[in-house]
Subunit: 348 residues, 4 copies
């Protein structure tokens, strides 16, 4: 089987992962409309490619919150990597470092933050956080992440409760007994849903800020109103995300919401986007519409499922090559030349 594009990895993962695991990774809320719209919305954007610009030397590096990465694609936080590959998040961390990009480790990792750090010392990593009912536990996690050299704190804002993913309900999905949400062990009893605090509000950003010097990135923003609030509450970055369509079904596709958020933010903080990225040209579209960087969720899991660290590197390398080629064919030699003039929304 030759792995030419990201959907080849998807086909592989669907074939070789246990059905309940595949279903869990693939799941969208309700009718999966938003999950699928994340992808379809990219198809409605057309390039306006420019010709005869010197693209002999391509520079695809960029910076996020001051850290340079080899190209504007990072790893979004997703849970339970051991379901995809025995080494779990350790492999993810190694692949991200090898490809010189950013990995956002999830609270719901099956390796501890310490294991992740040890697996790939020096890699650029952010830590994804839910605020728990037990604030002390959340505080403890933040301090551990900071001490371990994580360089950003990503607060997920769109999960006061878990979305209704029908297949998971039908399958009675749960983590196999030999896997653990290790980061939470000891801090309190692991009883997934009840941990999360649905009473969190914007004021908790101030509390979070009081705990750490790390920059705070808020994930899950989809409207101009919330983008404005995020800036006002002092976050350093916004990830436009609908949690891969796993939370509220029939919200906007992230690439559509990006336009609204970027407009509201007016450059005051960095804006990223996740959801629906399947080709290098999707990355180019997101950047043209104002994203500083994109993050991939499911494709990273497919890469892990294929060959662990190596498979994830394959996924990233394909995206990197496709991104570089798209840039060149659109007439951009460096990321700084990418702008809104490159795209238009299709009439269809």
């Amino acid at each position: 089987m030759s792995m030419v594009c990201l959907s080849d990895f998807e086909v592989y993962a669907k074939k070789y992962l246990p059905k309940t695991v595949w279903d869990y990774f693939a799941a969208g809320a309700d009718d999966c409309t938003t999950r699928d719209e994340n992808i379809l919305a990219y198809k409605r954007i057309r390039f306006r490619p420019r010709m005869l610009r010197d693209v002999s030397v391509m520079d695809i590096r960029t910076k996020i919150l001051g850290s340079e990465i080899s190209f504007p694609v990072g790893i979004a936080p997703t849970g339970f990597h051991q379901l995809a590959w025995p080494d779990g998040e350790k492999s993810t961390a190694r692949a991200a470092r090898a490809m010189d990009t950013c990995y956002i480790a999830s609270t719901y990792s099956t390796c501890t933050l310490e294991e992740i750090s040890a697996a790939a010392p020096g890699g650029l990593r952010w830590f994804q956080l839910y605020i728990h009912r037990n604030r002390a536990a959340s505080q403890h996690l933040v301090r551990r992440a900071e001490a371990l050299g994580f360089q950003g704190l990503v607060l997920t804002a769109d999960l006061p409760y878990t979305g209704k993913r029908r297949d998971d309900v039908r399958n009675g999905f749960r983590l196999p007994p030999h896997m653990k949400v290790k980061n939470l062990e000891g801090a309190f009893e692991v009883c997934k849903m009840s941990l999360l605090d649905p009473s969190v509000t914007w004021n908790d950003i101030y509390w979070l800020r009081s705990l750490t010097r790390l920059p705070i990135i808020i994930k899950g923003i989809l409207t101009r109103e919330d983008a404005e609030l995020a800036v006002k509450h002092g976050v350093q970055g916004i990830i436009v995300s609908n949690h891969g369509g796993r939370q509220l079904d029939e919200g906007p596709a992230t690439i559509d919401a990006l336009v609204e958020v970027v407009e509201a933010v007016r450059g005051r903080v960095e804006v990223y986007v996740d959801g629906g990225i399947r080709k290098g040209s999707d990355v180019l579209k997101a950047l043209a519409l104002g994203a500083k960087c994109v993050f991939i969720g499911r494709p990273a899991l497919w890469g892990l499922a294929y060959k662990g660290e190596e498979g994830l590197q394959d996924v990233l390398r394909i995206l990197q090559d496709e991104f570089r080629l798209s840039m060149a064919l659109a007439g951009c030699a460096s990321v700084s030349e990418i702008g809104q003039h490159l795209v238009q929304f299709s009439k269809l």
Copy 2:
């Protein structure tokens, strides 16, 4: 078989109901365009969900015409419940009461109003009325309903003649001999179509009002012009409805018509909507666009077909859970926080 969402009940009902009964319940007029559009139109509405609002305490109760219900979903009037379950409308009444919501009993019930009342004393119920050529018979029905404690009178306006439902014509659909339209027995010979009076006009609202102290709700309004007339003629409520797409094919989807009607009514009377509700998030969309409450037709019949009273409760409970979750994920802790800012119409 696990019943996770409403379409699971649909699959069940299609499998286990006799074909002519399934066809009768499923039937739409002509090409069934409007029946299907009722559902598709919801898919063209996108949420604009808000984050980081305290949704730890959820209040999903609402009031319709002053009566509190546990959540803004009632049972629309549909005929012949014994076709779905032996106890017929008695089961429907019990389920509605158990779930603390409103049941609109149809003139074409297979149980009498008296049986329905006795089955679930104290439940909130409205009575759905057609105006018959024999006005004395209609008057008699109104008086019976009022005496039995029904709290609203729903006048169906969109059936001067019955729509052309091809499958019913092909099947030669008729009620089996052991079932009766019991409410009409005695009053006159049951010969379905000839009973209805196609000469009814807005002036008959005044006549109806002269018969009863009950609030009058008009069902079947789809235009701003008729909404204006309804208000002018003193109704207390409007149900935006196209009779489940069973009357005039290729009229508007009800959720689209709702926008027009709500705008015309400007809060002077309560506006409800039926048709196409299949998920809790559909309820949220309808409320965001100005409906005070929605009513479900076919899904209630599927619930009955599944397990009678219990099955209908399952259907209502799923909708209730989904509605509560959608509200929370959209950032609303109570029904009063739902507004038009939550939705936008998709470009597609």
Copy 3:
């Protein structure tokens, strides 16, 4: 097999007609885009039905060029009816008279005008004309039609050459030897295509007018510019038509072109439409958009193929019943109440 709607007749005809005959009747030019668009375009129009209007007495009669017909649906000119039924156009004429409507007999009939007239004396009939290279022959036909009591002359304007219908080319379609284009026998050698004169212009309307006192209706107009020219050249009526999608593929659907033509004509002459009528509600839409009457082509042939005169009456009766019901459900008791307020173009 129960015949409930027009597509039942289509299914029958496709099953029982010889393939080359079916293909000839069904044929559209090139990719058949316009043929199919004629139907799809109706689906993009939504009714705005009005309620509680007295529809107890329905009047669906109308007048075209001063002649009353039982409802606003006539028979469009199509060729070679003997391919569908042995009695050919004689059956068509009888059915039209029985249903009290107008039949436009084609030049390419397989019965003579005299046979058609004799088959159904007193029926309302118009004669469809092509202008031939041999003007004397055309003149002769006009005079025959007038003498036989035809009450209108329909000039087809959209066939300077025959459209490219791929299936007919593949099938090598030609009339079987025992059938003749009888109207043209004697006048000149029948060699179909070379007869038609592609040099015809608007000035030939003046020539035609000089030959006859009959009103002239022009068929095949699709633009406001040509509608204006038609009025200027003194025609009495316009049939908006694309020849059933058999001539120039990818022109407008007729119901879309109707809007443009009606607007340009501003009531100065009557406007009719053909193409894509499959339901009574399509007729209602066409009238709401300004057509005085519609004409059906292929559905008439399906009716003939089903049971000759009787089958065509079935088709017309179904359309009539559906039209009456649609009117009532939309709140119109007579044709004069139909107006543009009844419809809107769907956003989809």
Copy 4:
């Protein structure tokens, strides 16, 4: 098998060509969205046909850069014709001359320019050029083409690097050993990709101009900005092209881009278009939107695959007949009567 329209040739070619060859000719970049959009976009354009105009004498000839051709369809540059037919580009040249139209020979021909010229002396031919890293080699090619009587130089601007065509990667596509890119032999080692110079800019047009008296046509322009630059840098013609969807996926369909380019150019240079032409009416649409001539790529290859020179003539003759018929049915007797009034963009 009767060859009635271009897709008949496509079916033939797909059936009889080796799979890797078919895949190479059919390939589009990435998801093939733009390849397919080139065709679909034509379907969204509707004609506004005019009636009763004298179309008895049809004149479909036109001129490109002063040379008369029998109708406005030429052969776009495509590589490796020997893959389709043993005589390769020699057959192409003969067919183009026989049909009295223009053939743009590709740098990547499997026959030399000298062989092509000798095969069809006197034919109208342009030469398609890439600028290579080795400028002397490019210069040599230009001089050879000029000396051989080629009458235009087509600079391809959209291939600084080759697009990602997944099937070619999977198939490991390469020219079979017995075929050669003969034009490049001797000049330098044939190692396809490294030859092309991705540093080419608009200034190189000046350099090219310094080498030759031939008119320069630039191919691959898709935006108004680049059209303006092309005019400013003194080209004589622009071919609106996306390389058949083989380079940057999800750019605009060429017929959509044509509108933008024609508007920007304001008649200062001739504008042509390629991509998606499958019917004579597509040619008419392109001319109505301002193209002086269209060029066909894949359909020419299908013609070659069918019967070499003869097959390609069949393809051209079908397009010619269809174009003439479309013109007549739209009411145009000569190319000069074609204008924007003939078309409108469909709402769908």
